[in-house]
């Protein structure tokens, strides 16, 4: 971003960073800003970097907005709002040339001396005026919005609408009024201290075709759309948003959410509900996922359709509960005891979060077993802008679930009937003439325990066969870029966005790339991957973890040409990948 004369050059892509301490309302401020920018018709995305501590430790929050669709923050920012001087110092290295800093703190002016001439810093008193004028520090956040509004050249109307939307319903007119005054005060303070030529003037576009939300919310929406009417879960970062969003809303759909005592109860309860006929789901993250491994195997054996959303955070163990990672890719594929069919879907953006959740329920009922939706904190908890609606019309397919009338045609009814596709007609308890047993122990067609080797073999075959039957319904990998490129990238989940952006930069440098986004991790799309690799000379597997789990998975399922150069581009620090990093990484690899 450069400036020219008294006004900045028009920009199509701006990055803002808000820094402060947990408890400062950084998240709140950032969220409002992101929504505002979206209402300006821009594609806004956020990146939250919070400590797992309620108050006092440093936090940062990126808001990026662009006129083109984007999925991730960039590394460097144009505008820094620092709630304290510590944040100012901490984030200086992230500033672009031409950047502006707003800082609440007396030393802000002093600190600004150490800045390069390309960067300008302004003291913006927030806390003190908030306390003085409104009796509570909390108003500093709305003041910050006002100041940012001034600096970005936003019109006041959308800001005011936003405030009303936020507070009117739950807090009433008085609160709205106070907040509007805070916005205005922030605007004025900024106006006083910051010269015109430091301002951006973001153009406004129609925004109605877009929505802004988190992946967790997209999954929750998908669950409602899919007919999920029972949700049991135990709180855990970063997955609680899914069911917490659902809690007040599912009633309207005739369903219920229940917070239970632990993750063992959560999945077992969901299994009970699904067995009894509801579309049922749970969600969790690392430690909770490990606790669900036993019941996961039960769903596979008993052939009960359940959906589990797993939002990955940094491990191992408690790890870093509020940071992102793709460190649990293999857990649902090779974890748990014994062998049973399972499906692992891995959405890479908001639309896929929504869509794959619907798919998950259809798949679960069609193949009668557990389906996992695997995302990470980055995709789950950060706000991103997507097309409205996330999808247009969807169907509910309950598979071989027999109505009482259909059941009457079958006699005797056998819950685990051995069929060509391995899928046995299902009946829910309460149905007359459908009485049966569901079993965690190896069993015959009638559900009765059996230790007969022949039955064992048939039943294993039957269960595993179901994955073949369901294969055509699984989301296939998506191919991006230049199919003839020699450099092939494979990745999954949230890295999709930054990879696509990095590919553009690579293209500009004359380095074509092809990229296969895996969307079903299991059953593994071995054929598509083999074909994708056929003419490649170089494979780069990009993933947000240490050991290269995705690469190990690919290798375990596909035989490589030994001439293929295989590379892993990995990151296991507690941040997501930026397009910049991937671009640098790919460039380096391509130069080898």
């Amino acid at each position: 971003m450069t400036k020219e004369g008294g006004k900045r050059q028009a920009t199509g892509d701006i990055s803002i960073l808000i820094g402060g301490k947990a408890g400062d309302g950084v998240l709140f401020t950032g969220n409002i800003l992101a929504r505002l920018l979206k209402r300006y018709g821009w594609w806004a995305v956020t990146y939250r970097d919070f400590p797992s501590n309620i108050r006092g430790e440093p936090t940062r929050y990126f808001v990026r907005a662009s006129q083109e669709r984007i999925e991730n923050r960039r590394e460097r920012v144009d505008l820094l709002l620092a709630f304290d001087c510590e944040a100012l110092v901490r984030h200086m290295p992230a500033l672009n040339s031409g950047a502006v800093i707003l800082c609440d703190g007396a030393d802000a002016a002093i600190l600004s001396h150490s800045l390069s001439s390309e960067i300008s810093s302004f003291a913006l008193p927030l806390r003190q005026p908030a306390r003085e004028k409104f009796g509570h520090e909390i108003y500093k956040n709305m003041m910050a919005i006002g100041a940012l509004g001034y600096l970005l050249g936003l019109e006041i109307r959308p800001v005011e609408d936003m405030v009303r939307d936020l507070f009117l319903e739950r807090k009433g007119e008085a609160v709205v009024e106070a907040n509007l005054r805070a916005v205005r005060l922030g605007y004025e303070l900024a106006q006083k201290g910051i010269p015109q030529e430091k301002r951006w003037f973001l153009p406004r576009f129609p925004h109605d075709s877009k929505i802004i939300l988190m992946g967790d919310e997209a999954i929750a929406l998908g669950a409602l759309a899919a007919g999920c009417r029972f949700f049991a879960a135990y709180p855990i970062c970063p997955a609680s948003e899914i069911w917490q969003w659902l809690t007040p809303r599912i009633k309207d759909f005739g369903g219920v959410v229940i917070q239970v005592e632990d993750e063992l109860a959560a999945l077992n309860m969901v299994i009970g509900a699904a067995f009894a006929g509801a579309r049922a789901m749970t969600s969790t993250s690392g430690p909770g996922a490990s606790l669900m491994m036993e019941a996961f195997s039960l769903a596979g054996m008993a052939e009960v359709p359940v959906v589990i959303a797993h939002v990955q955070r940094v491990g191992p163990s408690t790890g870093m509960p509020t940071k992102t990672q793709q460190g649990d890719l293999l857990q649902w594929i090779f974890g748990s005891h014994g062998e049973f069919p399972r499906i692992v879907l891995a959405p890479g953006n908001l639309e896929e979060c929504f869509h794959f959740t619907i798919d998950a329920f259809n798949l679960a009922e069609k193949f009668q077993g557990p389906v996992v939706i695997l995302i990470d904190l980055d995709l789950g908890q950060n706000l991103r802008t997507a097309e409205f609606p996330l999808a247009e019309g969807w169907t509910i397919d309950r598979g071989k679930l027999l109505s009482p009338a259909e059941l009457l045609k079958i006699k005797p009814y056998k819950r685990y009937e051995i069929t060509d596709d391995g899928i046995s007609p299902r009946v829910i308890p309460g149905t007359p003439e459908g009485i049966h047993l569901v079993e965690s122990v190896e069993h015959g067609e009638d559900g009765l325990r059996s230790e007969d080797p022949d039955i064992r073999e048939k039943m294993m075959g039957k269960r595993m066969r179901k994955l073949k039957a369901i294969a055509p319904d699984l989301p296939p990998p998506t191919l991006f870029g230049f199919p003839e490129a020699e450099t092939a990238v494979i990745a999954v989940g949230s890295t999709r966005g930054p990879i696509l952006e990095a590919m553009k930069y690579m293209e500009k440098e004359g380095k074509p790339i092809k990229f296969l986004q895996l969307r079903t991790l299991w059953p593994f799309p071995a054929e598509v991957v083999s074909r994708f690799l056929q003419k490649a000379r170089h494979l780069v597997v990009i993933e947000n973890n240490f050991t290269g789990q995705l690469l190990a998975l690919i290798k375990s399922q596909v035989i490589f040409d030994p001439a293929l150069k295989v590379e892993g581009l990995r990151k296991f620090s507690p941040d997501n990948f930026t397009p910049d990093e991937i671009f640098r990484g790919l460039k380096e690899i391509c130069q080898q």
């Binding site: 409602l224 007919g227 239970v260 509900a273 036993e294 008993a302 308890p429 079993e439």
Partner: protein, 288 residues
């Protein structure tokens, strides 16, 4: 008109428990209660844990779910919540309910969801061949306690009472009629009901035999009113000389299903699922 149910209406196949096992008495009592209440087998679901007791649904005819060790209660809860019209019975063991599964039991008691949980308390881990369980008596010699168990036995009923269960009772599988009476009461109870059934394991528990129990039980005479006194229940439960048999506590408070389910007339399991495009779109709009 549905056919009148008799005990055969609830028979699936002949049990293969050890001859003399207390589970036979429980099976019989359950059938008597089901007949007496004229239940429809298709409207009952029995959820069991892992253990000798877990085989129950192989012999009792109704819908059945043989799940994991210790997870009877959450599975049963999931079923009940999405279909309160079903009679959901959890049949668990002393290991299943009081060792690995105790947490779930107490939280269900707190929630007061209408489930009947029967614990087949043979005071031993039978299916795994005779280890001491939390309810085994002090001094109990077993493969896992060759020198005798050191801790005093746990009483699940005391805990359930403390957790807020609205119906607790104790039965004995050697007193089939009395047990059938308790089961009937439990099945009719609105809210969470726990019945602890003292039940001899003739193979692995040579201490708590039928004879031993005959000397150590006292049956309350209570065909009329049910006791609703926490202190009375507590003192019955703290009797050291005898096991007091009967309904030890019975009270009413709003049940979980009454409090959290959105629609009294429609079960969740019975909902006809539609994509609900409009309603979902309206929610999506809110993210604009």
């Amino acid at each position: 008109m549905p056919a009148i149910k008799n005990k055969d209406s609830f028979s699936r196949k002949p049990p293969t428990w050890c001859p003399g096992c207390g589970l036979y008495g429980i099976l019989e009592a359950m059938k008597r209660a089901a007949v007496s209440l004229q239940l429809d087998p298709a409207s009952m679901v029995i959820v069991t844990g892992i253990g000798c007791h877990g085989r129950f649904p192989n012999y009792f005819l109704s819908y059945g779910f043989h799940g994991l060790h210790g997870r009877v209660v959450p599975v049963a809860s999931g079923i009940k919540l999405v279909n309160p019209e079903l009679k959901v019975i959890g049949l668990s063991g002393d290991g299943d309910a009081y060792s690995i599964g105790l947490n779930h039991l107490l939280h269900a008691a707190r929630r007061n969801l209408s489930l009947l949980i029967l614990v087949v308390n043979n005071r031993v881990f039978a299916l795994t061949q005779g280890q001491a369980s939390p309810t085994s008596p002090r001094g109990f010699i077993s493969i896992s306690t060759p020198q005798g168990k050191v801790e005093p036995p746990l009483d699940g009923l005391k805990l359930a009472l403390g957790a807020g269960a609205t119906f607790i009772a104790r039965g004995f599988s050697g007193e089939v009629d009395h047990l059938a009476f308790l089961i009937e009461r439990g099945l009719n109870h609105r809210g969470f009901a726990l019945i602890d059934v003292l039940s001899p394991c003739v193979t692995y528990n040579k201490i708590n035999t039928y004879d031993w129990y005959k000397k150590h039980i006292e049956i309350l005479n209570q065909h009329k009113s049910m006791p609703e006194d926490l202190n009375q229940a507590w003192s019955w439960l703290n009797r050291e000389d005898k096991f007091i048999l009967g309904v030890l506590y019975s009270a009413t408070r709003e049940t979980l299903e009454e409090m959290i389910l959105p629609d009294k007339r429609k079960t969740i399991a019975g909902l006809e699922l539609r994509p609900e495009v409009e309603k979902v779109m309206a929610l999506m709009e809110k993210f604009k």
